[in-house]
């Protein structure tokens, strides 16, 4: 099959030696997940030619269940972006409308699934990178609870927020893929021992669903919110109790997110210096100058911007003003979610405030691009799980319904998502 959407950076057909519930199933992998003997670039020139000598934990799990690794998918460089345009390998196109972006940063994985190239893919979600392209391409995407899936082998962008998650055509496949990758891994010290048994059943009746008013505020497209409200109506029809809730600290979410993730990224990306992998530095230069050249040439504009922002925010005299404040905001946001989820079994709202923009529309203005993450980042900050399920179209493009669960409450939101999916 030709890759007309530019969904892949590298295609591959590597069969795992095991056999199990994914026997013979082709799964595409976002190119920031380390795959032994398959080039892994994070869509960056700086990792061109890097072939990991080891598999990420999730890849080991997939192979053990008999999956076929069907290529490495395009993404925003190092996960930094919401459109999959920030790639050294060119933008990925949205299979639903090739003049539009697929969303990001796991746009290649979403396009591969939406375009029918595979039925399952893995993405990673730092601030919405699974759910955004899932919503914009019309597929299912799950961001697991922080710690539920091992990050070992996931090339870090913002360690304290990100999780690897399934992207699939339907909820049952999402549950199946999630059951394979969830569970404890001693190689990731933040991983927890919460496996998932994969027994997804349509179940929504009697559940209380909170609707945070902030998810229908300013900046949310009327077409999008209309579709999502219709979907919520459907859930009510299916027996759910719908209640209004509020997350007052959500106004801090974007700044807290962007401060923390740029800080962590500025540190994580320091190792890309040309010494052990990536393009060879100029050997006749003093090391300091050789590093500078490699990094200048190797990183794209958005990555350089975030490295500089994070470096600035961590510098002496600013750490307290930015990083420390962001951590404080993080606690407030987590508290808001915890409070709402004490009375509610889950929260619901749109995944993205708009439909997929046209190619080039968002990249011109980084601030506008950052704004697009407003409904996805709070979940990463709180650490809770969230799923995006297709719920109709607005302006002829897919809209995603976002269900947000309690910490380690994936089962509840998967069951609810399945109930919805089966009812429409």
């Amino acid at each position: 099959m030709t890759d007309i959407y530019n969904a892949y950076i590298n295609t591959a057909e590597v069969k795992g030696s095991g056999s199990g519930i994914l026997s013979g199933v082709r799964v595409s992998i976002k190119d920031n997940i380390s795959t032994k003997d398959i080039e892994t670039t994070c869509a960056s020139k700086i990792l061109k030619g890097y072939i990991p000598p080891y598999d990420a934990h999730v890849i080991t799990r997939l192979k053990a269940e008999g999956a076929i690794i069907a290529g490495k998918t395009n993404m925003d460089e190092f996960g930094m972006g919401s459109t999959t345009e920030n790639s050294a390998f060119g933008p990925t196109l949205n299979p639903r409308d090739v003049t539009r972006v697929p969303g990001g940063s796991s746009g290649g994985s979403a396009a591969a699934v939406a375009g029918g190239l595979v039925s399952m893919a893995l993405g990673s979600d730092t601030g919405g990178s699974v759910r955004c392209p899932a919503a914009w391409c019309g597929v299912v995407g799950l961001k697991p609870s922080y710690g539920r899936v091992s990050r070992f082998g996931l090339i870090a962008y913002a360690n304290s927020f990100e999780q690897i998650g399934p992207m699939t055509t339907n909820v049952r496949d999402a549950a199946k893929l999630f059951s394979v990758i969830a569970g404890h891994d001693p190689k990731d010290s933040t991983s927890v021992n919460k496996p998932y048994d994969g027994n997804v059943v349509p179940e929504i009746s009697g559940k209380t669903i909170g609707i945070p008013k902030e998810y229908f505020g300013e900046g949310v497209d009327a077409g999008v919110s209309g579709e999502v409200r219709k979907a919520i109506g459907k859930l009510e029809e299916l027996g759910a109790n719908i209640v209004d809730v509020s997350l007052p600290s959500m106004k801090y979410a974007l700044p807290a997110y962007y401060v923390t993730c740029t800080c962590e990224a500025s540190s994580n990306l320091g190792r890309f210096d040309g010494v052990r992998f990536g393009p060879e530095p100029e050997m006749n230069l003093p090391w300091h100058d050789a590093y500078t050249k490699v990094r200048e040439a190797g990183f794209g504009g958005e990555v350089r911007r975030r490295i500089l922002l994070g470096t600035f925010a961590l510098s002496a005299g600013y750490y307290g003003k930015y990083y420390v404040k962001a951590q404080h905001a993080k606690q407030l946001i987590a508290k808001d979610f915890a409070a709402a989820l004490q009375t509610c079994d889950m929260l619901a709202g749109p995944t993205m405030p708009n439909i997929a923009p046209k190619i080039g529309e968002l990249t011109a203005d980084p601030l506008q691009m950052y704004q697009a993450d407003i409904l996805t980042v709070p979940v990463n900050i709180a650490g809770i799980p969230a799923i995006s399920v297709p719920c109709g179209t607005a302006h002829k493009m897919p809209v995603g319904l976002q269900l947000m669960g309690r910490m380690f409450g994936e089962e509840t939101i998967l069951n609810a998502a399945l109930a919805y999916e089966e009812a429409v």
Partner: protein, 477 residues
């Protein structure tokens, strides 16, 4: 400016490699010194993208042992953080270390000041961090210089112990390091024999002036030398009316001097922040379970009470774990005589040969045999020293030494009664009338020369006390 106050203020940051089996954040073996470069590496200690640190709990346990032994306060939680800087030996461009929440705070070490009085030196903190890799500079002017990187050392656990600026002399600094080394050795967490296992940064200032940091001194001797050089440099600069600038200097081990580091190297803003890939450590939960062995001071006191030996002997013998163990092994043949033979004679002879004690410990029985020969006056003290030297030389050279008894027999060193040497004494007295005249004129020690001549002539078989008595008798005193 005769009464200018040149009070010296020194603080140390001591980094020791913890002697764990594996590295701090991965399973790679820490025992790399005999192996080829880059053979003890994995995705984690190479900093490969996606690899994550997993804490080696042993390292924390070791560090908490040290903290407890040094009387530190253990907080509830310890937290790793990242120290960000670029350098080719630093795989991730950050070092995982500890910042605001170290493993231990406060604490103290007791040493003696230069006058021999007890002195307490307070500690600021103790934390654990990872060692970077190692750069090996190669090439030459003709063929070009290049540098190789060896990551075997990358990720080896280090414990950093920081003292308050309370040391007053290079010798005090040396004594503090010795005490620290002994304590870590007693705790069985550190192997000082391993190359590069200790590195010291020293802050030094003259009271009222700026302080200077000397970085990366890698030996005990080096610390004393670097500080001594630096004090002279700073005093001279002040005397000439110059100002000490706050700077970092490197110690040139070969030359024994310090040189200013280029400002580019030190103008780092390390941008510390908590390591997101490691949970905080509930330190207080661990510390209860940690049991401490007998430590140097306790052992010193026990040696004095149990063996009745003098404080200086007890201090020397307990200042090194292996020495203390060796002493206790040999002490049954006579606690005091053994203390004196180990502390006063053996150590010096070993140092002279640059020979490790471990060579002797495996032949402790023969050493005991020697002490018994002296104790029972089978040989004289002087002959004993000669036998020890011959014995150590043979041990040093071929590892299987000739026994002291055999050496005594071969060299004919058995002590003989004074009477048999009367002829020799008389002969030497006759040859040295001046010495006798000096002695008669009341010059103290004038006869020692005569006695020494007799000892020499009798190959040490004579007892100097007996010879003294015989001379006195001959001279009619």
């Amino acid at each position: 400016m005769a009464d200018e106050d040149f009070t010296v203020i020194i603080g140390l940051e001591v980094h020791c490699q913890l002697d764990t089996a594996s590295k701090l954040f991965c399973g790679c073996s820490a025992d790399f010194r005999a192996d080829a470069p880059n053979t003890h590496v994995c995705p984690v200690c190479l900093g490969l993208p996606g690899a994550m640190p997993v804490l080696n709990k042993k390292a924390i346990e070791y560090a908490l042992k040290v903290a407890k032994a040094l009387n530190c306060r253990i907080p509830e939680e310890g937290e790793f953080c990242r120290k960000n800087y670029f350098y080719p030996d630093l795989v991730k461009a950050y070092q995982i270390t500890m910042g605001d929440n170290p493993l231990a705070l406060g604490g103290y070490i007791e040493i003696e000041d230069d006058a021999g009085n007890p002195k307490v030196v307070n500690l600021t903190r103790i934390h654990v961090e990872e060692d970077p890799g190692r750069l090996v500079h190669m090439g030459n002017k003709e063929r070009g210089h290049y540098t190789l990187v060896d990551y075997n050392r990358s990720g080896i656990p280090l414990i950093e112990m920081v003292t308050e600026p309370e040391l007053s002399s290079p010798k005090e600094a040396r004594r503090l390091l010795n005490k620290l080394r002994a304590t870590l050795e007693y705790l069985d967490v550190f192997d000082p024999e391993k190359e590069g296992s200790i590195r010291v940064d020293a802050n030094i200032s003259i009271k009222g002036h700026e302080r200077v940091e000397i970085k990366n001194i890698s030996s005990y001797k080096g610390v004393e030398k670097a500080l001594t050089f630096e004090i002279t440099r700073q005093k001279n600069l002040i005397r000439r009316g110059g100002t000490i600038s706050r700077e970092t200097r490197h110690f040139q081990e070969g030359k024994g001097t310090t040189t200013s580091a280029r400002s580019k190297e030190v103008a780092n803003d390390y941008r510390y922040f908590p390591e997101p890939d490691l949970p905080v450590i509930r330190v207080s939960d661990w510390v209860e379970k940690i049991a401490l062995p007998e430590l140097p001071d306790a052992r010193r006191d026990r040696f004095m009470s149990q063996y009745g030996i003098a404080v200086n002997h007890a201090r020397t013998l307990t200042g090194d774990l292996h020495l203390a163990e060796f002493y206790e092994l040999a002490a049954p043949v006579g606690a005091q005589i053994t203390a004196s033979w180990v502390a006063d004679i053996l150590i010096g002879e070993l140092n002279y040969r640059d020979m490790p004690l471990s060579k002797v410990t495996s032949h402790a029985d023969q050493f005991k045999e020697l002490v018994i020969l002296v104790r029972d006056k089978t040989i004289t003290d002087k002959a004993g020293v000669d036998v020890l030297r011959v014995w150590l030389d043979s041990l040093h050279e071929n590892g299987s030494p000739e026994s002291p008894a055999a050496i005594v027999a071969r060299l004919g060193l058995i002590r003989e009664a004074g009477e048999s040497f009367r002829g020799i004494v008389e002969k030497i007295l006759a040859k040295n009338p001046q010495a006798i005249a000096d002695h008669k004129a009341g010059k103290k020690g004038a006869l020692n020369f005569i006695v020494g001549q007799v000892m020499k002539e009798t190959k040490g078989k004579s007892d100097p006390r007996e010879i003294h008595a015989m001379i006195a008798e001959i001279l009619g005193e």
